[in-house]
């Protein structure tokens, strides 16, 4: 059971880190897409959603080319002594990139539902755009923002394709739930694989229940 426990904790922990890291830029992106009028908005929107529709393995390969020691970014980081590929950091990056589209899309829908009049009134009361966002838009869209974070987290938990490409399946380091299920099933450790399936089902169920509960509560409030 020790091994399964490690895998579960590792996965949940890294998914939480990925979600927390993505929350500030993700919300900012969602806000810009919901409210901003700027050139390249459609392009940005498409880029953000790309990981949702591209084969995860392909996204993983792009990340690998970027982050490998000979890659564009990886080279710079290697000079700084930072190693990414096939470490837990690669897992977090894969999770973050794959979770971002769900985070942005859900939060964006929430921001769009906030009545613009509230934001406009706040600005006539002297609040600059950042203060309007922090004190009016964000609190009013909080249920959606929380749902967005939950979905991002759930997607991160299930991440497989991109993780395989840039992180591999190193026990105790990069072997996450999904990766472990695959490895176990492939090597004939069916019992462990089945146990992990149960664990991931439980986590997915809890995340969805939480997200639905938040949605229901916000529905009652308005």
């Amino acid at each position: 059971m020790g091994e399964l426990w490690t895998i579960t904790l590792l996965t949940v922990g890294m998914a939480a880190i990925a979600t927390l890291i993505m929350l500030p830029p993700g919300l900012l992106l969602a806000w810009a897409l919901a409210r901003g009028r700027f050139r390249g908005r459609v392009l940005l929107e498409t880029l953000v959603s790309l990981p949702l529709v591209m084969p995860p393995v392909a996204t993983g390969l792009i990340l690998l080319m970027l982050l490998a020691p000979r890659g564009v970014l990886g080279g710079v980081l290697a000079n700084l002594g930072i190693e990414i590929v096939f470490t837990w950091k690669a897992v977090v990056i894969a999770m973050a990139v794959m979770g971002l589209p769900l985070l942005v899309r859900t939060a964006r829908a929430g921001f769009e539902q906030v009545d613009r009049r509230y934001e406009q009134v706040a600005s006539t009361l002297g609040a600059n755009p950042l203060r309007v966002f922090l004190t009016v838009t964000l609190p009013l869209a909080l249920p959606s923002v929380m749902a967005a974070a939950v979905l991002c987290f759930a997607r991160a938990i299930g991440e497989f394709g991109a993780t395989m490409m840039i992180a591999g399946s190193i026990p105790g380091s990069t072997r996450t739930l999904a990766v472990a299920i695959y490895s176990f099933a492939e090597t004939g450790r069916d019992t462990q694989a089945a146990q992990l399936v149960l664990v991931s089902a439980a986590i997915a169920f809890a995340a969805l229940a939480l997200s639905n509960w938040i949605a229901a509560r916000s529905g009652l409030r308005t």
């Binding site: 406009q120 006539t124 009361l125 309007v132």
Partner: protein, 219 residues
């Protein structure tokens, strides 16, 4: 003196105003779709005119030729929209204090006393009646020490009885605070009762105007 001298085009709609307003209460009167709210939005900086100039005394808020377009949060224009737009996630006190400008002469006590909202400062917004919301929105706008106060049909959502009770508060804003008020309405009676001057808007243009007495123009 408020200088409104601008053209705002939006699709087939054209709004054109050339007015100089002294203090007191100016009513913008006209049928719906005449451009009343659009005018307020342009003054508050929520909508950008295509050309022209908007200034309050010597302070230029918008000048297309000189490339001046102050963002709404630096304009010092108090705005009470038709739906009073009280922040539903804050209680009344936090709403009223939201836009308080440091160093302004009005105290919270003075404003809440004048508008008689002191007793429900700790209430939640959903628990307020329509008339109470209007007064809170008015108090909130005043606490930001505006140079001009814009009111968009402040009495449209309240019944006749409450209307009669709110009118004196608006007169107090004019008489006690000396804040110029631009007041949008499509109710002739209200306009006659309140306004020092009337601009009649029709299909985006000032069709007529009058001091004190609105007369029968443009109705």
């Amino acid at each position: 003196m408020i200088h409104l001298d601008f053209i705002l085009r939006q699709g087939p709609f054209l709004l054109e105003l050339h007015e100089q307003l002294a203090g007191g209460i100016t009513a913008l009167f006209g049928p719906s779709g005449a451009g009343k709210t659009t005018t307020l939005d342009a003054i508050a900086g929520l909508r950008r005119p295509s050309s022209g100039r908007i200034a309050v005394d010597e302070r230029v808020l918008f000048d297309a030729e000189r490339g001046i377009d102050l963002p709404a949060h630096t304009r010092h224009i108090g705005y009470v929209p038709q739906e009073p737009g009280l922040f539903p996630h804050m209680n009344v006190r936090r709403n009223v204090l939201y836009g308080r400008r440091p160093g302004q002469r009005l105290s919270l006590e003075a404003v809440t006393t004048m508008l008689e909202v002191g007793e429900f400062l700790d209430r939640r917004v959903p628990d307020l009646s329509g008339g109470e919301r209007q007064r809170v929105a008015l108090a909130r706008a005043l606490m930001s020490a505006p140079d001009v106060l814009l009111l968009d049909e402040p009495l449209a959502a309240v019944d006749v009885e409450r209307r009669r009770r709110i009118l004196p508060y608006l007169l107090r804003v004019r008489d006690d605070l000396g804040v110029p008020v631009i007041y949008v309405s499509h109710d002739r009676g209200e306009v006659d009762q309140l306004a020092d001057r009337v601009i009649v808007l029709d299909a985006g243009r000032a069709a007529g105007e009058a001091e004190e007495e609105a007369g029968e123009k443009g109705a």
